[in-house]
Amino acid sequence: MRPRSAIYLASAALALAALTLAGSLPSDAADKIDPVADAKAFRKFFTDKFPKVKLEDFVNGPYSMNEDLYRQWQEKEQFPPYEFSLEMGKEMFSKPFKNGKTYADCFPNGGIGVRQNYPYFDEKEGKVITLELALNRCREANGEAPYSYVRDEMAALTAYMAFTSRGKPMDIKIPNDSRALAAYENGKEYFYTRRGQLNFSCATCHVQSPGERIRAEILAPALGILNAMPIYRSEWSGMGTTSRRFTTCNSQIRGVPFSPQDDEYRNVEYYLSYVSNGLPISGPGARP
């Protein structure tokens, strides 16, 4: 073939390929997104990597990765430092809004023992709803100002709700809706995408290096990583939300954090929670 024809042919082929890829419609993607297979592979990766760790213990993060840390944690769990935040959360949860209604009015089963169902995909709205988001929407629907997603009040409320679900298996559902699948896939993509000056993805630390140290900290495995939320961190000397952890983590890898409850965060929470289905809720948790 003469070079020029070859070039034309090549560019035509390239253009066609580009069009095909660009034209990858949700209907095509739906065939490829397989959360069930993902969750199975995700779980297998970690149980293969840590054969001595019991499945349910993955939710304890670094404590399941290091004996010395485990013992310190066990000692503190006898009477945990987060006791006061938990108590505050219970009080806050039961206290009526100015209009007389309570949080119980916004949640199934009065908000008791339901944490393991969050986040869920809201088919009316077409988006992922997290527990923190649901709590603030409840407040706003009842004439109250929303809480900051990264401060004590939200942490205390989610601590209480998590506590009422302790031991229950994470139970995230993905409805047969292409938007739900897209949100799930978006979260998965976020999880594996490198970002920030340090060019780390979530997976860099929590899939590639769990149990190893990053500076002086032992890294938690991604399996079950949200089951302990919210967490009382010794570093924060207080209870912090999932939003707080996501935003500070982004800052730590020298990236610009999203705003709490932005789509990316909601979707990664959806993905991470789903692939940890079956593992017990252990929140509120403790971390270094």
């Binding site: 006898q78 009477f79 430092p81 006791e83 006061f84």
Partner: protein
């Protein structure tokens, strides 16, 4: 509970194990705030436990004890339903006291 003191006291028949967790900043006086100013020392100095009118344990603390301090000890005696009295005083002269039932 309005008290800062949380207690878990359990009797095993011969001995009673007591765990106390107290809500208190326990500021050592060595830490600076975001503005670079020293956060003044503010910590519990003495914590006492009384059973049946007698002292069964005293903790003398400095600012080196962790925030929301915890202590565990055990004494001979004590029966389910009996009361334990716990009191503290801090370096600012503030006090708190509570009674807890042995479980």
């Amino acid at each position: 509970m309005a008290s800062s003191i949380r207690v878990r006291a359990t009797s095993s028949g011969e001995t009673t194990e007591v765990q106390a967790l107290i809500q208190h900043p326990m500021d050592s006086g060595f830490v600076k705030d975001a503005k670079g100013e020293i956060i003044p020392a503010h910590f519990i100095q003495q914590l006492t436990f009384e059973y049946d009118g007698k002292n069964v344990f005293t903790a003398d603390w400095g600012g080196g004890v962790s925030k929301d301090p915890y202590v565990k000890f055990a004494f001979k005696g004590g029966k389910k339903g009996d009361e334990l009295k716990i009191s503290w005083v801090d370096n600012k002269g503030a006090t708190d006291t509570t009674t807890a039932k042995i479980q």
